[in-house]
C-alpha cells in the first residue's frame, strides 16, 4: 500500500513539475499571442483591453495562481485564438490521436511479438535472416521519410488509398501502417532476443524433459518475455507520441499533435497547457498500468 502511495506522490510531483515548467517556458518565449490575434493595425488600447480580458496583464505569479485554481475545478481556460473552450477542443481533437496511437501500438505489438518469436524459433534460418534485414530497414526510415514514400507508392502510383485527411477507415490505413513499421520492428527485435535468451535456459529444458509440447513451452516462454516487451513498449511511448505528432502533420489529421504544434506556433498558451496536462496524465496512467501488469506477470519486480 505504501508503495502505491509513494508512486502516486511521485506521479503527482512529475505532473506538477511538468505543467509548471510548461506554464513559464511558453510565457518566456518571444512572441505575443494578443498582438498576433489583433493584427498589426491594433492600437495599444485594444491590445491592453484584450489582455485584461484574458488575464494576461496580471503578474506571472497571479496568472499561475489563477491557472492552478482553474485546474482544481477542471477548467482549462479558453483559447486565445477564437475564444473556444480548451476542454471541448481537446475532447474533439483527442479522438483521432487516441485511435491512431492505440491501434498502431496494439497492432505493432501483436505483429512484432508474433514475428519475433517466429524469428527466434527459426534462429539463423532464412526467415530469421530475412526478418532481421527487414527490421534493420524499418528502423532506418524515420516516419517523416517513410510517409512520403508510402504516399507515393499507395496513393499516387497505385491509387489505392487517399493521400490525407481523416474520416473513413481508408484514411486510417496509411498513417497507422506508417506508425506501425518502426515500432513493430523494435518489438520484434526485443522479442527475438529475449526469446532466445529464455529458450535456452534451464527451466525450459526441465519443462521439455517433462514432455510438454512445443506449443505449451512456447506459451510459457512468451509469458516470461512479456514484461521485458511491455517495458520496451512503455519506453517507446514517447517515441509514439512524437511519431503521432509528425504523422498527424503529414497526413493532415486533426488530432492533438497538430493542435499542440499549432498552439506552440501561435503561442496560444491555454492550448499548449491543456495538451500537456492531458498527455502527461495519460502517460502516467499508461505507465502505472504497464507497471501493474508487469507485477502481475512477474512477482519478482514487486520487491
Amino acid at each position: 500500500m505504501s508503495r502505491l502511495l509513494q508512486k502516486a506522490i511521485y506521479a503527482f510531483v512529475t505532473i506538477f513539475v511538468a505543467l509548471t515548467t510548461i506554464f513559464f517556458v511558453i510565457r518566456m518565449s518571444p512572441g505575443d499571442p494578443v498582438e498576433t490575434v489583433l493584427g498589426q493595425k491594433a492600437t495599444q488600447e485594444e491590445i491592453q483591453k484584450l489582455k485584461t480580458q484574458l488575464g494576461l496583464d496580471l503578474p506571472m505569479s497571479s496568472q499561475y495562481g489563477n491557472y492552478l485554481k482553474g485546474l482544481t475545478k477542471g477548467d482549462l481556460g479558453k483559447t486565445i485564438f477564437g475564444n473556444k473552450d480548451v476542454k471541448e477542443l481537446l475532447k474533439e481533437r483527442m479522438k483521432p490521436t487516441i485511435i491512431l496511437a492505440s491501434i498502431s501500438v496494439t497492432l505493432s505489438a501483436i505483429v512484432g511479438i508474433f514475428l519475433g518469436i517466429w524469428a527466434g524459433y527459426k534462429k539463423n534460418k532464412n526467415f530469421d535472416k530475412f526478418s532481421r534485414l527487414i527490421s534493420l530497414f524499418a528502423l532506418s526510415f524515420p516516419i517523416f521519410s517513410l510517409a512520403p514514400l508510402m504516399v507515393l507508392l499507395f496513393s499516387i502510383k497505385l491509387n489505392l488509398l487517399p493521400v490525407s485527411e481523416w474520416g473513413s477507415l481508408k484514411h486510417m490505413i496509411l498513417p497507422i501502417v506508417t506508425l506501425m513499421i518502426p515500432l513493430g520492428a523494435i518489438v520484434m527485435r526485443v522479442t527475438r532476443n529475449k526469446y532466445l535468451e529464455e529458450a535456452h535456459s534451464q527451466w525450459v529444458m526441465v519443462t521439455r524433459s517433462k514432455g510438454l509440447s512445443d506449443v505449451a513451452i512456447l506459451l510459457r516462454v512468451l509469458k516470461v518475455c512479456l514484461p521485458t516487451i511491455l517495458n520496451v513498449v512503455s519506453i517507446q511511448l514517447s517515441v509514439v507520441i512524437a511519431g503521432t505528432m509528425i504523422t498527424e502533420t503529414i497526413f493532415d489529421i486533426p488530432g492533438m499533435g497538430s493542435l499542440l504544434f499549432d498552439g506552440i506556433q501561435n503561442r496560444d498558451y491555454p492550448i499548449v497547457q491543456g495538451v500537456i496536462v492531458y498527455s502527461t496524465v495519460s502517460y502516467m496512467v499508461i505507465y502505472f498500468l504497464i507497471d501493474y501488469i508487469n507485477e502481475k506477470l512477474d512477482p519478482r519486480t514487486q520487491s
Binding site: T14, V17, V25, L139, P142, L152, I241, M245, I250, F261
Partner: protein, 276 residues
C-alpha cells in the same frame, strides 16, 4: 572481444563511403569551387527548377529552388554528420559525468537526478526540443542545446549502471589502496572501463541525433536550410511533379542510418562484456 562480424564490416563499408563523400564535398566547397574565406554555396537557378536526374548537366537533377540536388544533398550530409557528432560527444560527456556523480554524490543529488531523468523521459523529446526552440528562437545553438537537454539522460542512466559495476571491482580498490585521488581515479580507471559500452551507445546515438534533427527540420524547426528534414518537407509538396527528390533524400538518409546501426550493433556484439 569477439571477431569482426559481417554486420560490422558492412556498416564500416557503408559509413566509409559516406565519409569519403562528405570529405570530397568539403574539399570541393573550400578549394575547387570556393576558398576558405568564401566557401561555395549551392546556387539558385530558377531555370533549372525540378530538373530531372541526368538532365541539364546535373547528375541528380535540381530541387524546387533550382539548386543542384547533389550539391544540396552533400551540404546536408556534412551538416548532419558534423552536428550529430558534436551533439553526441557533448551529450555523452555530460551523461557520463552525471551518471558517475549519481553513484558517488549524496542522496539529495540522487533524488534530483532521478526526477530530472524521469521528467525528460516522460516528455516526448520532440516536445522538449520544440519548447526550447520556441524560447531560444530558431538557431543552431538552440538546436544543439535542445538535443543535449533531451539526450543526456539516456547516457547518464547507462553510465550510472556501468560506474556502479566498475566501482565494485577489486582493481578499483587496488587503485584506491595505492592512494589515487578521486579525480585521477575517474579519468584513469573509471573512464577507460566504461568507455567501450559508451562508444557503442554513442554510435547508435549519432543515428538517433540525425533522425531527431531531421524530424525537427521536417516540422520547420531545423537549424539550417540544408537540414535533410527541411528538404524532405519541401520535397513532400512536389511529390506529384518530382517524386524522385523525396526518394533520393529518403534513401540517402536511410543508407547513412543503416550504416550507423550496423556498426553499432556489430560493435555491441564485438565488445559485449557479458559474452566474455
Amino acid at each position: 572481444m569477439g571477431k569482426f562480424t559481417k554486420e560490422m564490416k558492412w556498416g564500416l563499408g557503408i559509413l566509409s563511403l559516406y565519409v569519403v563523400w562528405a570529405v570530397s564535398w568539403f574539399f570541393y566547397r573550400y578549394t575547387i569551387k570556393g576558398t576558405i574565406f568564401k566557401p561555395y554555396v549551392p546556387e539558385l537557378d530558377m531555370k533549372l527548377e525540378l530538373a530531372l536526374p541526368f538532365s541539364k548537366g546535373l547528375v541528380l537533377g535540381a530541387d524546387l529552388l533550382g539548386r543542384s540536388l547533389l550539391e544540396v544533398l552533400s551540404a546536408g550530409l556534412t551538416y548532419s554528420l558534423t552536428l550529430s557528432m558534436i551533439v553526441t560527444i557533448a551529450t555523452a560527456s555530460i551523461g557520463i559525468l552525471m551518471g558517475y556523480m549519481a553513484v558517488k554524490a549524496p542522496s539529495w543529488f540522487k533524488l534530483v537526478f532521478d526526477l530530472l531523468i524521469n521528467l525528460v523521459f516522460i516528455f516526448p523529446s520532440i516536445l522538449i526540443a520544440i519548447m526550447i526552440m520556441a524560447v531560444t528562437g530558431q538557431s543552431m545553438q538552440g538546436l544543439i542545446f535542445a538535443m543535449i537537454i533531451t539526450g543526456w539522460p539516456g547516457y547518464a542512466k547507462i553510465a550510472r549502471g556501468e560506474s556502479k559495476r566498475v566501482l565494485s571491482l577489486t582493481y578499483v580498490e587496488g587503485a584506491r589502496a595505492i592512494g589515487i585521488g578521486e579525480v585521477r581515479l575517474f579519468f584513469t580507471v573509471i573512464i577507460p572501463a566504461i568507455l567501450p559500452v559508451m562508444i557503442v551507445n554513442m554510435v547508435l546515438g549519432i543515428s538517433g541525433v540525425i533522425i531527431s534533427e531531421a524530424a525537427l527540420g521536417f516540422l520547420g524547426l531545423g537549424g539550417s536550410p540544408y537540414s535533410w528534414g527541411a528538404m524532405l518537407s519541401a520535397a513532400k509538396t512536389v511529390l506529384l511533379e518530382a517524386p524522385h527528390i523525396a526518394m533520393i533524400l529518403s534513401l540517402t538518409m536511410a543508407g547513412l542510418i543503416i550504416g550507423l546501426n550496423l556498426l553499432g550493433d556489430g560493435l555491441r556484439d564485438y565488445l559485449d562484456p557479458n559474452k566474455g
